[in-house]
């Protein structure tokens, strides 16, 4: 306990410096902004800002990028409640009851409870990270290459199980991602693989290009194909504070949402999206009057909004302790760490306590800022919602292009990103979910490296993955997950769940 306070002390000392407070504020502001705006998500935004973070010190950079992710969870609920469009994919379920509440003239309390729930969840999740990350990192320090390889297999399988749509396509996308990640110079032999003599490719395909092309450009193009229609129900929101009855109705939902979200965030493949869906389903199941759900039940706003914020934050645990991303945003965070010359993994906590604890402390501060940003300043965000998409997307493109260009100050990266835009568009059209591809892409080289080492140590005996207990456990869980999803009954349920979404 004492160590915890000591560590948090270090963290707050770092997070409360003027510079870091500034970047934290920038991060959560940007996060709220893109959360409110439909059609641009945290993945594209973080990808856009990665090149800019070159110039910052690592702690400030990571504090800002983290702020974007959990800030987006706050902003997403605003759009969901007021416009019935999820500003963020993790706010999809908030639309169901939040918009109904707005139609009944209760947009204020809906926004209020979403923010309060999110703040509570954010505080709890911060404490959970501070409590659980150190012991987990200690375990992870004992991992050998075999354990790491199996852990990555588990992480990737879990990510595919949770991906939308077809499982087999999702696995294919993971493998395609792994292969794309292998492009570039092989560390062991020095051979430039799949580079076709292009010198830029011998350093590998740019991570920013893949993420921005597949998530940013492809999304814009797909959005442009649809006619836009946006109806803002509530132009003026008054009376943000929920009534005493509202609190009575929803405090248990907030607690449950926070607990479930925190747990699901830690799991590989988890994060905000899964957390909000699961929390909504749970509330509906255990509620005494579940008929109210979908008709403006405040529990249906409180639970998923708490859960997505908790999940967004606890998904940093596998990143910070194991160096394994559980969703595309975390994959980008790994990219950001590598840009700064930090090898993600359990050693980050011991070697860079300032960075580790500073980031955790900043999350609590960021949550506080978000409440202020989102409640009193709600009018500003509503105004932003009135900006039509035809004015938004050229602006997004400008920032994307400048960001990509600045990676190496050459047109090559821009071309590469455009190419991945085409690829991403094809993925959208063929219903191939790109999130597993990004995870595979970031893990490709790591996975090969650990496989090679493990096989070298075992003298070529592949059974090593089954002989070491931790490794075996992880492979068993991965196998179990696959078996469960492939089981006919679950498969049907899973399809239904995603169709409902």
């Amino acid at each position: 306990m004492e160590a915890l306070f000591h560590n948090l002390g270090i963290g707050f000392a770092v997070a409360l410096t003027f510079q870091n407070l500034f970047y934290c504020l920038m991060g959560v502001m940007l996060g709220t902004l893109i959360g409110v705006l439909p059609g641009i998500g945290p993945v594209a935004t973080i990808a856009m800002l990665l090149p800019v973070t070159f110039t910052l010190n690592p702690t400030s950079a990571l504090i800002m990028l983290a702020g974007i992710y959990y800030g987006a969870q706050y902003g997403g609920s605003t759009t969901a409640i007021l416009v019935n469009i999820p500003g963020e994919s993790s706010s999809v379920v908030t639309c169901l009851d939040g918009y109904q509440m707005a139609r009944q003239g209760r947009a204020g309390p809906a926004l209020g409870i979403a923010a309060i729930g999110s703040f509570f969840a954010g505080c709890v999740a911060t404490i959970i990270i501070a409590l659980f990350a150190p012991p987990l990192a200690e375990v992870a320090l004992k991992f050998g290459p075999a354990e790491y390889f199996s852990l990555m297999v588990l992480g990737l399988i879990a990510a595919t199980v949770l991906a939308h749509g077809s499982l087999i396509k999702a696995i294919a996308m993971v493998i395609l991602g792994l292969l794309l990640g292998l492009v570039g110079t092989d560390v062991n032999s020095g051979v430039a693989r799949f580079s076709f003599g292009v010198s830029e490719l011998s350093d590998g395909i740019g991570f920013v290009s893949v993420a921005m092309g597949v998530f940013g450009f492809a999304e814009i193009i797909a959005n442009l194909e649809q006619k836009e229609h946006r109806e803002i129900f509530t132009k003026k929101v008054s009376n943000l504070l929920p009534s005493l009855q509202d609190f009575k109705d929803s405090w248990a939902s907030i607690l449950r949402g926070t607990a479930l979200g925190s747990f699901l965030g830690i799991l590989p493949g988890g994060g905000a999206l899964l957390a909000s869906f699961a929390a909504y389903t749970l509330e509906k199941k255990i509620s005494k009057n579940s008929a109210n759900f979908g008709k403006g039940a405040i529990q249906g706003v409180a639970a998923p909004e708490s859960a997505n914020n908790a999940g967004a934050q606890t998904s940093f645990i596998p990143l910070l302790t194991l160096g394994i991303p559980s969703n595309p945003v975390m994959a980008l965070m790994i990219g950001a760490m590598m840009i700064q010359g930090i090898a993600p993994g359990p050693q980050v906590m011991t070697e860079r306590p300032q960075l580790f604890w500073g980031m955790i402390a900043s999350m609590w501060i960021g949550n506080l800022m978000l409440v202020v940003l989102n409640l009193p300043m709600i009018g500003m965000w509503i105004k932003l919602l009135m900006v039509p998409y035809r004015m938004l997307y050229p602006s997004i493109l400008v920032f994307c292009c400048i960001g990509v260009y600045s990676i190496s100050n050459s047109p090559f990266d821009v071309m590469q990103t455009a190419a991945f835009g085409v690829v991403g568009y094809i993925f959208v059209k063929l219903e191939c979910e790109p999130a597993p591809l990004i995870l595979g892409f970031i893990l490709g080289p790591l996975m090969e490296e650990n496989l090679r080492r493990a096989m070298l140590l075992s003298r070529g005996d592949p059974l090593v993955f089954f002989q070491r207990p931790i490794s075996l456990t992880m492979l068993l869980i991965a196998g179990f997950l696959l078996a469960v999803v492939l089981a006919p009954t679950v498969r049907k349920k899973r399809e239904e769940a995603f169709v409902e979404a």
Partner: protein, 200 residues
């Protein structure tokens, strides 16, 4: 045999093509063995797995209960043909590095048109207009400077949307250009020229 799910059909073909391509190219590198894996080992295994999964997706396209038309993309085959011919020409007429400016620009234009034709061969208008705007920005940033390149990007990409309003787009490009210069060049100190490089 009838294709019921066109999306699975194309996705399957895509995965097979990627898998085989990676396997094929990997054969240029050393395979090694299980103890000491060469650079070709992992890609070959993964490529094989991808091709097998692709085959499964392809097979499913024939039995799937979900029905999607085979024509997922609008396809303009004459543009593909033209684009391919031009890119082959562009590939074999690559001017040497010390060639004159006019020749360089001419070649870049030829390659650009070829790529654009390949883009435009499939997909909606928004796809290739937006990406064309991006590519133009990438190549024009150095010669034209940030202000003009941003203007070009905004104008071309706005043309890819549903409605194009001259006044709005002009104002928007002015604001965006001013903001980018202030934030990226002066604020973050990115090394980009603001105005055409000939002026400076």
């Amino acid at each position: 045999m009838k294709i019921t799910n066109g999306k699975d059909f194309w996705a399957g073909l895509m995965f097979i093509a990627f898998g085989l391509a990676f396997m094929f190219v990997a054969q240029n590198y050393a395979m090694g063995n299980a103890v000491r894996m060469g650079p070709a080992y992992f890609p070959t295994v993964l490529g094989g797995m991808l091709a097998v999964l692709g085959a499964a997706v392809l097979a499913r396209a024939f039995v799937s209960k979900i029905s999607n038309p085979v024509a997922v993309f609008p396809f303009r085959y004459w543009l593909v043909l033209g684009g391919l011919v031009l890119s082959v020409i562009a590939f074999y007429t690559q001017p040497p590095r010390d060639a004159g400016m006019a020749l360089q620009i001419g070649h870049a234009l030829l390659a650009g048109i070829a790529i654009l034709m390949l883009f435009a061969a499939f997909g909606e208008r928004s796809l290739w207009v937006v990406l064309f705007a991006v590519v133009v920005f990438g190549y024009m940033l150095k010669p034209l400077g940030l202000v003009l390149a941003t203007g070009l990007l905004v104008f071309i990409s706005a043309w890819g949307g549903h409605e194009f309003r001259w006044k709005e787009v002009t104002i928007m490009s002015a604001i965006l250009a001013a903001f980018s210069v202030a934030a990226f060049v002066y604020g973050l100190g990115l090394p980009m020229n603001v105005w055409p490089s000939i002026w400076e």
